[in-house]
Subunit: 491 residues, 2 copies
């Protein structure tokens, strides 16, 4: 009988972030990535929505649907949020009711966990190949509706024995762009001899986390799965202290035994209160007569030119996917900003989380980054009308910026959409009724359940783990360069 | 800073279930209840749906709505559950989109927690007055739509300081009869001097739990709120051992430090898997042309005469509610059965939970009792077609039956609807793919979050706490009778 909710691969266990015994080095990885890019790629070209092949407009609603009735559809939505600054609006929204699997397979080589990563060239990817989970499959994928090949490694997830499942939870995706979409985020371990198929590569967990510093390389699905890594108390792999104490505060923040500004029940009560009080009314609307949006057969875009646009693309693909198709995608006018303010409270790093209402969420509101915004939308507005903390984040000096990378949204639905991910340290423990300071372990506890952290917040949690992995590299006795040059130890 | 998720009123803390220092005795309570019944009552008379005053049929859908647009409506629903024994059906369903508050106010008298209970005569109550939470209010109630008086004690919940909130979570209600209904379950403590208004009474938590043995007295809303009581490790108020070890196994089961058959992540992964795999498709349907249901202006009932019926009632009320109204209600043909099989695994009591799909749940499936059924529906079917474990539960001898009471569904929507609540001990740790054995502390952990336990399971969790309260009474040195006769200690 299990005496506790024991976890086999908590992030802080000694060895998990060790640089020793990695199967390869990062320079080797980058060479391999460049070589793979010549075999695995997509060529994506914008076309008019009315030129899409296999997609049609529903005559009543104007919704864009695939002729198979599967994949996803682009629908119209009318949203009302009582008391919000914008209390009512219409928008296109993606409806993809199937729950797909995003799964990372983990195996230890020399005691060090490695992730089987897929080099995937999604049509909307910025920068070509990105690092995807081992499996990134909608139900249409793995039931063969798309006419493609079988999904490699799928059975490791669909038939995982219970004791091999480290994390398994459905999580939401962009609540402004998807209608109640959830994907099943899974982390599964194996001791099998698992060969790397073409386009797949074993990287250490530490390496994947460190690659978050590279713009537009670790894809959104990988980031959300990694945010579901369990934490466990007691495992502090190394003595920090070679920086200004930030790493020590981050390590403490990841320890479930550490304190928190608010007890968990206060956080849950706050979430309950906001979800009970907020009246969100979402209803379907015809896409072809959507107030505030114009369409000319090429695309659907907002009258103001802001927000996002529904476009068509033609895709030619080389690699394991079928060779060519067309589909609608979402494109943005400007990159987004996702920023987390962090501060030390009694020596424990806390992040300032916003409880944010989005029309496509299953349950009203989820915890979001401190700032989740498209900055240009607010450029001409007075400071009072700008999102809280936006100006503090934008004014942060280099010494306060702990993390700063561009990271892409999922390239199967979003065309070249990327967000600047910023982690900014502040000395001020701000108070605001819609925000709460929370340590990482509290976020990790909520990530065992669905509907708590939105995908943008989860992406920044992965970036916090990236900072942990960097500290591990810095503190290793062999030094960063030597570790990256260590001999191969592939099992 | 909170060092742990500390809770101020865990059920097992010494004193919480102590029989000493109660403010009154149970015989006194029953005398008071009888006296109150002459002042506070409803007279409810069945009338035809078409005679309802203030309610109309929507001409397009046939749905029954209140002219205010609030309260609730009776709608039609078409449900499809791929692969289920009945894969598609239609039914009427109650839509009550507002999240109400069910709140119990707790105050210590002489160190013993007491609950401010309301004696409420809901129109559908079996047995007249039932024990309701301090506040049981829809938003329409407390925003005055029903034209009644202000809701007493409401501000203790709406304006509760964070550190006074013991539990605060939205929980589902009957997923077969309500469309995605949630109510906010709250437990709040106070140190104020709170006078008992007419129809309200301070009872010790132990007394309320012991009154679960009385048929149709502790109402559904009280039971669901009590199921959200927190547990905490270490607090074992007394030495059990005067029974056959059942109480000791139950006490261990309530201790979060005790073991469990499955670690929590296995339970969560199982829930994720079922929710991901199960395709439930629910859509609105016209009520007046609902396949399989007949209506004659008096009621809506199933062609088979089974399941439930939508009826009209005229209510005359004395007490604090307004004097008279009409409304639709649901009535059942036969009482239901809610049964929990329990067994000892390594000395820890475990309950056999069923992961049950219901069309009105927000998230596909929730944990349900071992058996949740209307027995008569299966009377003529062969054993193989009957719900799993039904026959074992019905055949249980008196020595195996640990709890057996009739307990009512909520009397504001359900007319004389009651379920037999059975807790049956078995020596067999059955294995079944749709069921898992779980100790009480694991259920209590999930009850900190929404969408895990359905209302029927929560009701039986409250009954398990009732068994704890009985053991406290049995083990008290003063003996049960003496404790019930103890002098008043009201503060």
């Amino acid at each position: 009988m299990a005496s506790t909710d024991a976890l086999e691969l908590p992030l802080l266990t000694p060895g998990v972030l060790s640089p020793r015994y990695e199967t390869g080095t990062l320079p080797e990885f980058h060479r391999m990535l460049a070589a793979a890019g010549s075999r695995i790629f997509t060529r994506t070209e914008r076309i008019a929505l009315e030129s899409l092949d296999g997609w049609h407009r529903d005559p009543d609603s104007g919704w864009l649907r695939h002729r198979s009735g599967r994949f996803f559809s682009i629908e119209g939505l009318r949203a009302r949020v009582a008391g919000a600054p914008v209390a009512e609006w219409c928008q296109p929204i993606i409806n993809q009711p199937e729950t797909g699997i995003l799964g990372i397979l983990i195996k230890e080589f020399g005691g060090v966990p490695h992730c089987l990563m897929q080099l995937k060239a999604e049509p909307g990817n910025r920068g070509g190949l990105q690092l995807s989970p081992t499996v990134q499959a909608t139900r249409s994928n793995y039931t063969g509706v798309h006419g493609g090949k079988a999904v490699p490694y799928l059975d490791y997830f669909r038939q995982a024995p219970a004791h091999r499942v480290i994390a398994d939870i459905r999580q939401s995706e962009q609540g402004s762009w998807f209608l109640r979409k959830r994907n099943r985020n899974m982390i599964v371990t194996t001791t099998d001899d698992v060969p790397e198929q073409d386009g797949f590569s074993w990287l250490s967990l530490r390496q994947v986390l460190r690659l978050l510093r590279h713009d537009d390389l670790v894809n959104m699905d990988t980031r959300t799965v990694l945010s579901c890594l369990p934490l466990a108390p007691g495992g502090r792999p190394r003595q920090p202290g070679r920086d200004d104490g930030f790493t020590a505060a981050l390590l403490r923040s990841c320890d479930p035994a550490a304190g928190s500004r608010h007890p968990g029940r206060e956080i849950r009560s706050w979430i309950t209160e906001v979800r009970s009080r907020t009246e969100v009314d979402v209803e379907s609307a015809p896409l072809d007569r959507l107030a505030g949006w114009r369409q000319d057969g090429r695309s659907v875009r907002h009258d103001s030119g802001r927000f996002f646009e529904v476009i068509g693309v033609r895709v030619e693909s080389a690699g394991r996917e079928v060779g060519g198709w067309t589909q609608p995608m979402l494109a943005t006018v400007e990159d987004g900003l996702l920023a987390l303010l962090v501060t030390r409270i009694d020596g424990v790093l806390h992040a300032l989380m916003h409880l944010r209402v989005e029309p496509g969420l299953v349950d009203v509101a989820e915890l979001a980054p401190t700032v989740q915004a498209t900055v240009g939308n607010y450029a001409e507005l007075p400071a009072a009308a700008r999102p809280p903390f936006l100006d503090e984040v934008l004014a942060a000096g280099p010494e306060a910026i702990r993390f700063d990378s561009m990271l892409s949204d999922e390239g199967g639905r979003f065309f070249q959409v990327s967000n600047r991910h910023l982690i900014v340290e502040t000395g001020t423990a701000h108070r605001h009724p819609d925000y709460r300071w929370m340590p990482v372990h509290q976020l990790a506890g909520l990530l065992r359940h669905c509907h708590y952290l939105n995908v943008q917040a989860r992406s920044l949690v992965a970036c916090l783990y990236g900072l942990l992995a960097e500290s591990a590299a810095r503190d290793a006795t062999t030094g960063t360069a030597a570790a990256d040059g260590a001999p191969e130890q592939k099992g």
